[in-house]
């Protein structure tokens, strides 16, 4: 291998074989059409091809591979949620993430650094104890830390934050980060190698519905017939669902984040504070990544607003005062599809052959592997919902059986 690399480095020929060959023209019909070529969409296609032998599959993407929320999220992987349903689901996801680099033969730069969440009030400490026990019960690694232990773990963290000093911390040892683009690339390459077609610049514009089934999808490149359709379009979920008159409790909000100029390594764990609505981590390149809760009102536009960025920075500086002297390098926003109970919507829809992968809000990236795997099972079994995602169906809202996920990042408001 090293010699091949050396030969390649010394050769003057450019790369001959691209990983993702130029898109072929659309076939007239596919067994499965996945709308949305982000991490989730290609993960579903990958597991369909790998475990279920379904390769007459097309992924339709209106932009380019992984160009939406997959590339805009802050790449946090964790399972320390509140409800047993979510914790089971995300622990399975963390388990798959750990092995992805080997499975793809492609480095997703999975880096298990641990995640520290800070409590600034007694009620938060109590909630953290519950989250800690629930996580351990289902096999996750989580501990409660006191102030002294936090000081040893993150020496530069300011524990006297304003009028609400840090009381304790929830230390989630399984907390990790990975290169988000690489996850989408790895899944896409694996799916395409097994025969799945990936069509960039192909927008699903309308549906042909007969007898409560979607029989064809109209795209900007022509109409294509379909056996089963899965939508995995994150922030644009409502736009597609409105075309099929599927009513859902989704609101679309921008979520803003930013990175500073690179600095020397000072922060191994991912640190977040629900009271300060802020999380801080240092990327492998040394940049300090700062994110927080979503915008105060709905919008379909990844714009940034000064007041939200100022608020985020104020809190980041409270946590790490020396950051006041660093400069911001980049800032951006993504579009998130929020649900009222902060849990996703996965599974069946009122249309017989149309499956939903929506409502991910601020936690879509960390669920990519397990969502792809379970949604692929759902598609391959012809609509039998796997037990792991059964609680997350759209119908939970009409049965008043919401899953109140207060461990979600945006739920800290």
């Amino acid at each position: 291998m090293p010699f091949a690399l050396l030969r390649y480095g010394l050769s003057s020929d450019p790369v001959k074989k691209p990983d993702f060959p130029p898109p072929p023209s659309l076939k007239p019909a596919y067994d499965v059409i996945i709308i949305g070529g982000g991490g989730h969409g290609v993960a579903i296609a990958y597991y369909l091809a790998k475990y279920h032998g379904l390769t007459n599959v097309a992924v339709l993407e209106k932009g380019y591979l992984g160009g939406g929320s997959t590339t805009r999220n802050t790449a946090v992987i964790r399972s320390n949620y509140m409800t047993p349903e979510s914790v089971k689901f995300y622990i399975a996801s963390v388990g798959l993430f750990r092995n992805l680099s080997n499975e793809f033969d492609f480095n997703i730069m999975y880096s298990e650094r641990g995640q520290l969440t800070l409590a600034h009030s007694d009620s938060t400490v109590r909630a953290f104890r519950q989250r800690c026990e629930v996580n351990r019960h289902f096999g996750g690694r989580t501990e409660m830390l006191d102030r002294q232990q936090i000081k040893e773990l993150v020496p530069l963290l300011n524990l006297e934050t304003g009028h609400t000093p840090v009381l304790a911390g929830l230390w989630h040892i399984d907390g990790a980060t990975a290169r988000h683009d690489a996850v989408a690339w790895g899944y896409a390459r694996g799916a395409i190698e097994r025969g799945v077609e990936f069509h960039p610049l192909t927008e699903a514009q309308d549906f042909v519905v007969e007898k409560n089934r979607v029989t064809a999808i109209q795209t900007n490149r022509g109409t294509v017939k379909c056996g089963v359709v899965v939508q995995a379009v994150a922030g644009n979920s409502s736009i597609l669902m409105n075309k099929l008159n599927i009513r859902a409790p989704i609101h679309t909000y921008p979520l803003q984040a930013m990175v500073t100029q690179p600095v020397k390594p000072f922060l191994t764990p991912l640190v977040s504070s629900s009271a300060l609505h802020c999380y801080v981590q240092q990327t492998g390149r040394g940049e300090v990544l700062i994110g927080g809760g979503s915008d105060p009102y709905p919008l379909y536009q990844p714009r940034s607003s000064l007041e939200l960025k100022e608020g985020l920075l104020m809190h980041a500086i409270e946590m790490f005062p020396f950051l006041a002297n660093t400069k911001l390098m980049r800032q951006w926003a993504g579009i998130t599809d929020m649900t009222p109970d902060y849990s996703p919507i996965m599974g069946l829809s009122p249309i017989d052959n149309y499956y939903l992968d929506a409502g991910w809000g601020t936690y879509g990236f960390k669920s990519t592997p397990i969502c792809g795997k379970t949604m692929a099972e759902l598609v391959a079994s012809g609509g039998k919902v796997p037990a792991l995602i059964a609680p997350f169906g759209l119908e939970r809202f009409s049965r008043f059986k919401q899953i109140n996920e207060m461990g979600a990042t945006a739920a800290s408001h």
Binding site: N242, P249, T252, P296, P298, S305, S398, F400
Partner: protein
Amino acid sequence: MKLMPCPLNGLRNITEFTYGGEVTGMPNPNTATDTEWADYVFNKTNPAGVVREWWLHNASGYWFIAERDTVTDHIRKTFDPGELFTQRVDFSPSAASSASATKENPL
């Protein structure tokens, strides 16, 4: 900062306001089925385009309605809810008296 034209207070910073959800018609609570009520409580249209929504000016406690484009964030107009809600809606506690006391929502 983005400005919101409040019908009561004029142009004010957007951070002085709280978003209050889409303006929708409420089904009659005495006659609605669970499914209809759940649809009213949870489901949103969430369109990418112009939407009518409730807003609150926090300092003055004043609720009003805005027509805003959710793609461009352009606020087309704002007005007092009195323009839309011209009738008083009363609720009766029991289904027995519902026929006499409740009126249909204007939307």
